[in-house]
Symmetry: C2
Subunit: 108 residues, 2 copies
């Protein structure tokens, strides 16, 4: 499951990190100030997000700035879109069934 975007987004802290970083790129230290957990714990979350490429990094001196990578978020979006299609296809099939039933009864 390593690098799985669904797994990455499952954790509420990581979702909060994504929201923060999507608004503004941040360093691990700056991020950690927003949470009650230790810096290392936040760093681990960052690693998970970076492993599945939801975050990219840019080293500036001793600081590392993390940026949100919208491209990877598309994978997620894509699944949901496909899923909706499945669901809507089912509705369409039901619609078609109802239409057929109607036309059948018309023929009677």
């Amino acid at each position: 499951m390593k690098g799985d975007i669904f797994q990455a987004i499952a954790d509420p802290t990581r979702r909060a990190i994504l929201v923060l970083i999507a608004t503004q790129s941040m360093t691990p230290n700056a991020l950690a100030e927003h949470f009650d957990t230790s810096r290392q714990a936040v760093s681990k979350h960052i690693k998970v997000l970076a492993d599945c490429e939801l975050l990219t990094q840019n080293k500036v001196g001793r600081e590392i700035h993390y940026y949100f990578n919208p491209a990877k978020m598309k994978e997620f979006d894509h699944w949901l879109t496909q899923f909706k299609k499945h669901w809507e296809d089912r509705f369409n099939q039901l619609d078609q069934l109802l239409i057929n039933l109607n036309s059948d009864s018309d023929e009677n």
Copy 2:
């Protein structure tokens, strides 16, 4: 985390179950035939999905038919939509910044 929709969707088997059930309502036994794991394992996944109301059930004799509940999927969709808004707001801020910079240089 009990009943958390993100947690529920994180597991690939559960996503597969959702896709199957979104296409057609099914019983646990029928579902289990689609997977390599035991019936009880599938049943546990069903429980997780039902706990967060992604599935609803309808008992017919000794069988239980599980249905997909699209209403709950909206929560998921909603988060992604809000997230996109965050992201786009940032872009808008950048746009505004660029516009301001341009008008500044126009004034020089």
